[in-house]
């Protein structure tokens, strides 16, 4: 069951590669949140209850509901109507994301000697690299945040594969951190929207030598 969910997660990554509309991105993020909820529920059922509740809370409340809503708000407020505007053609994006998944597969096979669930590893690394890929190839500032969130999702999956040995306090800190950073980023996106006409990263290349 976990594996199926993970594969679904990987599919969502590919879909993200070809998605054009910003709302699609947000939806995908929400879906990913749900998938993560499922995975963590299955995987972590045996750890202590408070911790489990907290993690489930994080996936459902933060990842699935709060952040997508917040992003939606940001998009509405800044009247971002244009598409995702990648630097690369969609076709190439798909090819590259496929390559990333393939590469992660090879990598997960190479790595030996450590007790790890390969499927988790594969999907986590793919998510990570896809997130970076999205950040690198998209023009919109908002899409960068989305890429960042995809990376965070990858990290979440990776941490799930360890069976989560972090203590409660640390976990809380980390979660809060992510949440706050997304908030701060969102605030700045708003500011950028106010300051510049287009929320393009092209506007943000004045500081250079």
């Amino acid at each position: 069951m976990t594996n199926i969910l993970l594969i679904a997660f990987a599919i969502s990554l590919i879909y993200m590669g070809i998605a054009n509309r910003l709302s699609t991105y947000i939806n995908i993020l929400a879906v990913q949140g749900i998938i993560l909820f499922g995975v963590s529920f299955i995987e972590l059922i045996q750890i202590n209850t408070i911790n489990l509740i907290f993690i489930l809370f994080e996936t459902i409340v933060f990842k699935t509901i709060a952040i997508p809503l917040f992003l939606n708000y940001v998009i509405k407020k800044n009247k971002i109507v244009r598409e995702a505007e990648p630097f690369l053609p969609d076709f190439l994006s798909v090819v590259i994301i496929t390559c990333i998944i393939l590469g992660s597969f090879i990598l997960s096979n190479i790595i030996t000697g450590v007790h790890i669930q390969k499927m988790f590893f594969l999907v986590a690394i793919s998510a990570l690299l896809s997130g970076l890929f999205i950040i690198i190839t998209r023009k919109k500032v908002v899409t960068h945040i989305m890429g960042y969130l995809v990376i965070e999702n990858g990290v979440f999956i990776l941490s799930l594969s360890t069976g989560n040995k972090m203590t409660m306090l640390v976990n809380t800190g980390i979660t809060l951190d992510i949440f706050v950073s997304v908030l701060v980023l969102g605030v700045f996106v708003n500011r950028i929207g106010n300051t510049f006409e287009e929320m393009n990263v092209d506007n943000l290349t004045n500081l250079k030598d």
Partner: protein, 673 residues
């Protein structure tokens, strides 16, 4: 209270004093500081030179460890030399600086740097702890940097100052490498560990170690091709600073080379050859370029390179003397080197002071616009000509004595050495003779064009002889020039102890005695020469006593309206020479074309440029700049790229790690097969 603490405290006190006093007083305060420090250090130095060396160990805390203060005869000799020039420098400088009072805002800083510079130079001669040495060395460089950029209003000055700063930094880097090298093997900062270390390794390694030091010190000393800072820094500095820099500061490099020659135990023959070759090139190149300079101080700066070359030749002879266990060579070489160091500091500082006087009188350093100054400034002219003759190595002045010692060593080596020594030495003899001839050309040009003939351009202000207090240091120097030139035997006695620092293994008294008797003859002949001049002069006066003396215009070969523009200029004086050595020069010409029938005035300018600088400095810098420009894609303002760097970095490292694993695997496979 120990000596060094005492000097440091005095320095700090006086520096504070200078900083918080009126500008008008700062020169006198600096003079006081220099006098006190000179007094203390000279006392120790004189004792060291006559054989009572001084040793003191200061606890330098956790960073430095023990700091040994050793004043041996070599240090003593250099301290005495340095003290004298610094003293005349401040005597001259405080008059020189009067002109700038309340104009630049840098006077106090300048004099404070002067005091610090003096103290740090004393420190360099006596401190024998690597880390402390580097500290003091850099303080010396920085304080002289401050002094060089005194006239900061001129962009050229800043450029030259920057050049100076960078090159002295490179110098200190090389020294740092050398000292780190030793201290990482011996775990001690004491200079003595250099000799213990070099004794424990093969001579090839010692040689490389020595070369590391040598190049570092050679930058300071101004050996070609490490000389390029010198012709920029000297002209822009105030005259007394140029005098001190050229007279003393570049000798710090010589001191370092000598000190390391004592400390680094090595194959002296090979290092002797290396030093000889570098020095010969420096000597010839320095004077060859000096001749074509139009800027008086730049000309003098190139002459410093030449004289450093001569000193280097002497050091090389001495090293070969040690290498071949020939006491006469060793003595003549090192005595020549030390004496020429002193001599150069005397006449070169004098030349710079007089150049400064000229500059302050007519506000230019361009030789071609001077002329006829001897009638307005006869005393300056006499001081200048004495220094000029001394620097050409002409008897009966001091320059000749040291060059004579070097020649003696060379001729001795020619007939007593092996084939290779003979061959190298005969080339050196030719080279030294060539240098002498070129110096003659150069200083006849300098003196002749500056002081003789008619004024070549008009100056608004009246030209007067400078005040006595400004001339006084010059006369002081001339006194020493004459004493050394006319009574050289006294000075050779003083040199016995410093030289024995090098030759302790091989020399007993006899070469010194032989040379002393030689010098006595020279002293005699010099006196006879003076006597001959005097008697001819008297005879002439006697013969002409009843005849009238006719004063007419110069005979100008038939031209009726001869004017000052028709005189030979500095450029025309050396034109045929310039053609001869054309291949070694870069002459930048700026020439206008004559246009139209009624042409407007056109100008033609030539600027000599240093070819060594073009090859060894400018060209690598150009390449480096290009390479550096390649790197500058990184901070391109594009955040996506910034993230990519991290990703690419991780990917590359992972791949390399993987590939190295594969490579190791394949390697094993091949090995097994």
């Amino acid at each position: 209270m120990s000596l060094s603490v005492c000097i440091v405290l005095i320095t700090i006190l006086f520096v504070l004093f200078v900083s918080f006093s009126k500008e008008a007083w700062s020169g006198s305060i600096a003079l006081g500081a220099v006098l006190v420090n000179t007094g203390i250090s000279s006392w120790v130095a004189v004792n060291a030179v006559i054989g009572h060396s001084y040793l003191e160990i200061i606890n330098g805390g956790p960073v430095f460890g023990d700091i040994p203060i050793r004043v041996d005869a070599l240090s003593g000799w250099f301290i005495l030399m340095m003290n004298f020039t610094v003293l005349t420098g401040i005597l001259y400088g405080r008059r020189y600086m009067k002109l700038y009072e309340n104009k630049s805002g840098m006077i106090s800083l300048h004099f404070a740097s002067y005091i610090i510079n003096h103290t740090s130079m004393i420190g360099i001669f006596i401190v024998q702890n690597s880390l402390a040495f580097l500290y003091i060395w850099e303080i010396m460089a920085l304080s002289s940097f401050i002094m060089v950029i005194f006239e900061y209003k001129n962009p050229e000055t800043l450029k030259a100052g920057l050049n100076f700063l960078i090159q002295s930094h490179i110098c200190i880097l090389l020294l740092t490498i050398g000292l780190i090298w030793v201290s990482s093997h011996t775990d001690s900062y004491d200079f003595n560990s250099i000799s213990t270390y070099s004794a424990s390794v093969s001579s090839a390694i010692s040689l490389v170690l020595y070369l590391c030091f040598f190049i570092g010190f050679a930058i300071k000393a101004g050996f070609v091709p490490f000389h390029t800072w010198l012709p920029y820094a000297h002209p822009v500095a105030p005259a007394h600073v140029s005098g001190v820099m050229s007279g003393v500061m570049i000798k710090l490099g010589i001191f370092g080379i000598l000190r390391m020659l004592i400390l680094v135990n090595q194959n002296y023959l090979i290092i002797g050859y290396i030093i000889l070759i570098v020095s010969l090139i420096s000597g010839v190149y320095g004077v060859a370029l000096a001749i074509v300079q139009h800027n008086l101080k730049k000309l003098l700066a190139y002459h410093s390179i030449e004289n450093i070359g001569i000193i280097g030749i002497a050091i090389g002879i001495g090293a070969i003397g040690i290498g071949t266990k020939n006491p006469f060579l060793a003595f003549a070489g090192f005595a020549g080197a030390l004496l020429h160091t002193l001599n150069h500091s005397l006449f070169k500082s004098l030349l710079f002071y007089e150049a400064g006087t000229i500059y302050q009188t007519i506000h230019t350093l361009n030789i071609d616009s001077m002329g006829g100054l001897i009638k307005k400034m006869p005393q300056t002219a006499i001081l200048f000509i004495i220094a000029a003759m001394a620097i050409c190595g002409l008897p009966p002045f001091n320059g000749f004595i040291s060059e004579f010692l070097i020649y003696l060593g060379l001729f001795e080596g020619v007939h007593s050495g092996s084939l290779s020594i003979t061959t190298v030495f005969i080339l050196l003899i030719a080279g030294l003779a060539l240098i002498g001839g070129l110096a003659l050309l150069c200083f006849t040009k300098a003196f002749g064009i500056i002081f003789l003939g008619q004024a070549r351009s008009h100056f608004d202000n009246e030209i007067n002889e400078s005040e006595p207090s400004k001339l006084f240091p010059g006369y002081l120097i001339v006194l020493f020039i004459l004493i050394i030139g006319l009574f050289p035997q006294w000075f050779i006695r003083l040199l016995i102890n410093p030289v024995s620092e090098f030759t302790s293994g091989i020399t007993d008294g006899f070469p010194a005695l032989k040379i002393i008797s030689n010098l006595q003859s020279i002293s005699l002949v010099a006196w006879v020469f003076l006597l001959a001049i005097a008697s001819i002069w008297t005879i002439k006066r006697f013969v002409l006593r009843n005849k009238r003396m006719v004063i007419t215009p110069t005979w100008s070969c038939g031209y009726s309206e001869a004017n000052s523009k028709m005189q030979y200029t500095a450029s025309s004086y050396v034109r045929s020479y310039r053609k001869l050595i054309g291949p070694f020069l870069i002459m930048n010409k700026k020439e206008g074309e004559i246009k139209g029938v009624f042409s407007s005035p056109i100008h033609s300018q030539t600027h000599p440029y240093d070819k060594v600088e073009a090859i060894f400095i400018d060209f690598p810098l150009k390449i480096m700049n290009k390479m550096m420009a390649r790197v500058r894609f990184i901070q391109n303002g594009n955040m996506r790229h910034y993230i990519l760097y991290g990703v690419v970095f991780i990917t590359i490292i992972v791949f390399i790690s993987l590939l190295s694993g594969v490579a190791a695997y394949l390697f094993n496979l091949i090995k097994q097969m």
